[in-house]
Symmetry: C2
Amino acid sequence: MKPSAPARESADVTERLRDAITRGQLMPNERLIEADLAQSFGVNRANIRMALAMLDQEGLVVREPNRGARVRAVSEAEAGEIADTRLAIEGMVARRAAERATAADRKALRAIERGMRRAVEQADYAAFSQCNAALHREIQRIAGNETANRILQTLKTHLVRLQYRVIMLPGRPKSSLREHAAIVDAICAGDADAAEAAMRRHLQNFKDLLKQAIEAARLGGF
Amino acid sequence: MKPSAPARESADVTERLRDAITRGQLMPNERLIEADLAQSFGVNRANIRMALAMLDQEGLVVREPNRGARVRAVSEAEAGEIADTRLAIEGMVARRAAERATAADRKALRAIERGMRRAVEQADYAAFSQCNAALHREIQRIAGNETANRILQTLKTHLVRLQYRVIMLPGRPKSSLREHAAIVDAICAGDADAAEAAMRRHLQNFKDLLKQAIEAARLGGF
DNA sequence: GTTATCACGATTGTCAACAATATCGTTAAT
DNA sequence: ATTAACGATATTGTTGACAATCGTGATAAC
């Protein structure tokens, strides 16, 4: 059995195009020519057109009338905006998670936290990154706000190109682990205020480090 | 001179369709048949198709493969989610506004506040509603977070169908005025924490009243 | 040498016809 | 009477062709 019937090619194409952009296969400001994309994806131009329209709405590409579409470049200022917005939403999400977490939920959070600690001890960056994502995802699931989750998803999509720099910063995994532990503690204690505050601190640090990383990269080569 | 060259019909159509949905001319769960819409809007089906894809991404319609599009109905639970998310973002926005407001900005806020007070004294609901929107818009402008503003715009679009009920509640304009005054005071004082807290209180009240209004409507006929 | 004009190629926007799929009522079988 | 199979109709999805527009380079005017 298939996972879910696409039956409509454009949905699939949109996802593939989105991936190509977020994975950096298509560079910022690069022109996206419908005919070329149609050929390289092996689909009709109408599908590409549809995908571009949706990704435009999503903010991943910009389209100018009669002048085509380009991959949207997120400026440093915009990265800050995105990080602020994410911080606000995910703070609320952590709060709700603290209010709603069941015993099973708490157990799941602790398990991910243990995995994270193990990854730090073994200096396994890939595993750490994965646990990081899993933890945030789990908190979102517990909070159960689909609207917020959808928005967070697109915001993270915009940051994904930049954030790998932060993980690589010296000492970051260890401090990140501390921050995450504080979040999990607060949620498991059912302390909504503390959960929101901890999440905010975590994402504020992330934002600051992201800014540093971008600046360093800008001055130091690219 | 024109305001800005559309030159592309689909952008215009998208806006018109969005308006038709938010203004209630197209009811929730109503099927949106491409051919019909194309005829009634006087455009090609491809444009309608494009518009539906974008509004789907925006969350205003849902599309199922080979089964067409319908106006998305926001459930009571979802209205709560939207209100929560809005609260989180707009709290952050108020905080930033407090940090960034110039003397001119403060003057503009005070002017809108005066207009609001006048509207309440004269029991002019339309004017009040307009000042309400203007005040929130002005705060967003001052904060200068375009990412957040875009998201707030779409979230409000989803609530617009419901929120008129709240304004009509007895005594609401007066309490709303108090809440707004507190927000303006905090922003003008440059007190970021107070501004966020005041905005949160305001939107939390809004959320609670919205829930009440929806419940009352559900029990009392519609 | 600089600027204006024009024609051409590349690309996007529009359109109508066709194919594929779902919906719904009818009929037939049990 | 209930269910299953079937076919007609409505609707969406796909495709290719055509029209409109933009960028660019060549040419001409000054």
